[in-house]
């Protein structure tokens, strides 16, 4: 196979771009979790806010990714370092599944259990950390899993603004009309998505409350 020979011959660069890709996905997912999980908890506890927050996250999701990368380019601090910009854009896309799954997970905890805990004298933070979050964890992780898989795919577009990652091969291949080069980016990206999907799925089953 030509493709695999090409990947083998360029394995140094494939590895480097894969790591770059991982870095983009990893940082953006982490950021999206840091923002999305507290936000999801907040709207689960204050039902009045769930519609506007979920709607905003939804709207972000509908912006075509290439356009979003382009929109953010002229923003001062961001535009200077395209990797920052790529991470921000990916974070925005990862928000919706994470907020939504956190919201659903917390709302799905049996109200009788929460009320029993409150009646026994658990403080609100004890209720959250000892009862609600552990019981919602597997649902939250299912959202993280979706976010990661989306990010791996979207991060290939970051190469369009020069932020690196496996998209470099894809865009280069497109320009050179060379399938081998395109596939040298696409195959590792697909594998990455599968591994991430499997990994988070495994974590999800491991932490499932029984």
């Amino acid at each position: 196979m030509n493709v695999f020979r090409f990947i083998w011959q360029n394995h140094g660069q494939v590895l480097e771009l894969t790591l770059e890709h991982l870095r983009l996905v990893g940082f953006s997912t982490l950021l999206a979790m840091l923002i999305g999980i507290p936000l999801g908890i907040a709207i689960a506890h204050r039902p009045g806010f769930n519609k506007p927050v979920l709607a905003s996250a939804n709207i972000i999701q509908t912006i075509p990714s290439l356009a979003l990368f382009g929109f953010l380019l002229p923003v001062p601090w961001l535009g200077e370092r395209v990797d920052r910009l790529a991470i921000l854009a990916l974070t925005l896309y990862a928000l919706l599944p994470i907020i939504r799954s956190t919201y659903t997970g917390i709302r799905g905890v049996d109200p009788a259990v929460v009320e029993a805990g409150r009646g026994m004298g658990l403080t609100e933070s004890q209720l959250l950390f000892q009862v609600e979050l552990p019981l919602a964890l597997s649902v939250i992780l299912s959202g993280v899993r979706v976010a990661v898989v989306i990010s791996v795919g979207l991060a290939t577009i970051a190469a369009a603004i020069g932020a690196g990652g496996l998209g470099e091969f894809i865009f280069r291949g497109l320009a050179m009309v060379d399938d081998r080069v395109i596939l040298a980016g696409a195959i590792p990206a697909a594998l990455l998505a599968l591994v991430a999907d499997f990994g988070v799925g495994w974590l999800e089953r491991l932490l499932q409350p029984r």
Binding site: D110, A112, V113, E115, A116, G117, R118, G119, M120, G121, L122, T123, Q126, Q130, V131, P134, L135, P209, R210
Partner: protein, 258 residues
């Protein structure tokens, strides 16, 4: 008489509770004496569960006040108040991700008891409610309904509260298990001298367990009577209850006060 009997353990003073414009509870005046088991009897929607939740302030009254040991329960720390009151509900509300041991030991643990004392207390309580110690590592879903309810009672007793609030604790059990748990409850109460407020819609259970029965209907207190008086009550609603439950009530009433 018990020396504390001058001050009621729990006192409802002109308590009303409304949601939006619907009145759930209107002008409830009721005293629960130390060491007694007061049963709140009534249909669903009569306000009995609401009354119970007002005691540990899961709900706050629209007007009036609830006094616990002579002090309004709106004063002071609500977390402290709740930890000093045991709470048992019908769906048990056991934490499904905790073992039996962690469920029972929860309040002592968050109260900062040393680990050894918590463990000893958990074993003591499991024995008290008739649970074999091997069950302590199980999760709630690995227990029978009766066992779960025993864990619920043990959990409520963990920090040795003076007051127990029980919201239809035996409602979802099969008749045999319910009978067994009711009998054990009577024994337990004689040993522990707790003040209990017990919600049920089952007259037989009320007669058997209550030192007094407070009959509620549509958010109002209809009558308060001890089990024997209740059976002879002239009140039409109480009489209707007695008719509906039929024969064998005398024996239930006699056992309840034995």
């Amino acid at each position: 008489m018990h020396p504390d009997s001058a001050i009621p353990m729990i006192e409802f003073r002109d308590v009303s509770y409304r949601v939006a414009s619907t009145s759930v509870l209107s002008r409830l005046n009721l005293q629960v004496q130390s060491g007694e088991t007061l049963v709140l009897l009534g249909r669903s929607g009569s306000g009995k569960t609401t009354s119970l939740k007002l005691v540990n302030r899961l709900l706050a009254p629209t007007s009036g006040e609830i006094r616990v040991k002579g002090v309004s329960n709106a004063e002071g720390d609500v977390i402290r108040l709740r930890r000093s009151i045991g709470y048992v509900i019908q769906d048990v509300g056991l934490f499904p991700h905790f073992t039996v041991e962690r469920n029972i030991g929860l309040v002592p643990r968050i109260e900062g008891w040393p680990e050894e004392r918590v463990r000893a207390r958990v074993l003591e309580l499991m024995q008290m409610v008739g649970l074999s110690p091997e069950l302590r590592r199980r999760r709630p879903h690995e227990l029978s309904g009766g066992q779960r309810q025993r864990v619920g009672v043990a959990r409520a007793l963990a920090a040795d509260p003076e007051i127990l609030l029980m919201d239809e604790p035996f409602g979802a059990l099969d008749p045999l298990t319910r009978d067994e748990l009711q009998r054990e409850f009577i024994l337990l109460r004689q040993r522990l001298h707790k003040t209990v407020v017990f919600v049920t819609h089952d007259l037989r259970e009320a007669l058997r367990l209550g030192s007094r029965i407070a009959l509620m209907e549509a958010g109002r207190l209809v009558t308060v009577a001890d089990p024997r008086e209740f059976l002879r009550s002239a009140d039409p609603l109480a009489a209707a209850y007695v008719r509906a439950f039929g024969d064998g009530l005398e024996s239930a009433a006699n056992r309840g006060t034995a």
